[in-house]
Symmetry: C2
Subunit: 145 residues, 2 copies
Amino acid sequence: MGEDLSVLLKNLNLKVTPKRLAILDILDAEMRYLGPDEVWQRMKARFKSIGLPTVYRNLEELANGGVLIKIIHPDRKLYYYLCRNTDHHHHFICISCKKVEDLFFCGASEIEREVKNNLKGHVISHLMQVYGLCEDCAATKTIST
Amino acid sequence: MGEDLSVLLKNLNLKVTPKRLAILDILDAEMRYLGPDEVWQRMKARFKSIGLPTVYRNLEELANGGVLIKIIHPDRKLYYYLCRNTDHHHHFICISCKKVEDLFFCGASEIEREVKNNLKGHVISHLMQVYGLCEDCAATKTIST
DNA sequence: AAGATAAATAGAAACTATTTCTTTTTATAT
DNA sequence: ATATAAAAAGAAATAGTTTCTATTTATCTT
């Protein structure tokens, strides 16, 4: 694990650089989503010189390539990133520990029907995010900041 | 129309000021969602002195009170606002003209079941937004900027 | 109707997140 | 080993949003 990460980059026609691999490795090791600043903190522990623009650029490129997923958090309007599984799914986000788990229910067909029949419009994409407490946090009932 | 707007403010225990009424009136007149800057532009046409912080503050207060709805757009990480109908619904957002229409399909119960059964977690809230082309824009096939 | 008071606003300034720019470095193809 | 095009550093600019203080204003009380 950690070695086939370079394949992901090659598939996207991106050069395999130590920093790109490190970003993927950092996100691969987390079950939580991370903000650009958090990724940067972890990068600074690994590289003596690492610029925040480099982090932003790579997160954006990797998200565009589909290797990372951009998550929009409703409180703060910043976006955070995460990597996982490739087929269509949505996310359950624990508001306490920030863990992200995949959800496979999707109402896309019903939505498309409603849009087509009632609004006479045409669906291009949709976004669904579910917020709550994961098993562990629900058990401890502690909301961590 | 435009006169019962003050009732909305009183219900929230907010003072009825000309600027608050104007913000509500501006948003009431639009079918599109507006960003703080767009609201500010329209406010400047009505008031000789109007500060951007006033716009932000009021949009946030009104959104907290439920009179406005905060919409998160995936491209730019800014939030935009809009007022409408009170029962649970989601939004169809035209990516061309930015018009917002209400959607009543909601998979909340299926999602809750999935989260409970598979993740052993607990849903607190959810966000769903659907992007596409409205009837008019689908007809003209023109994507306006 | 007039005064008291707490909320709302202006305007300036601070802050934060993100992006842009130019130069230097580096991965990869030849 | 070299060429070249992409990636990165570091500084600086930009844009969106928030904070702060003094002033104004809506509403409550009498």
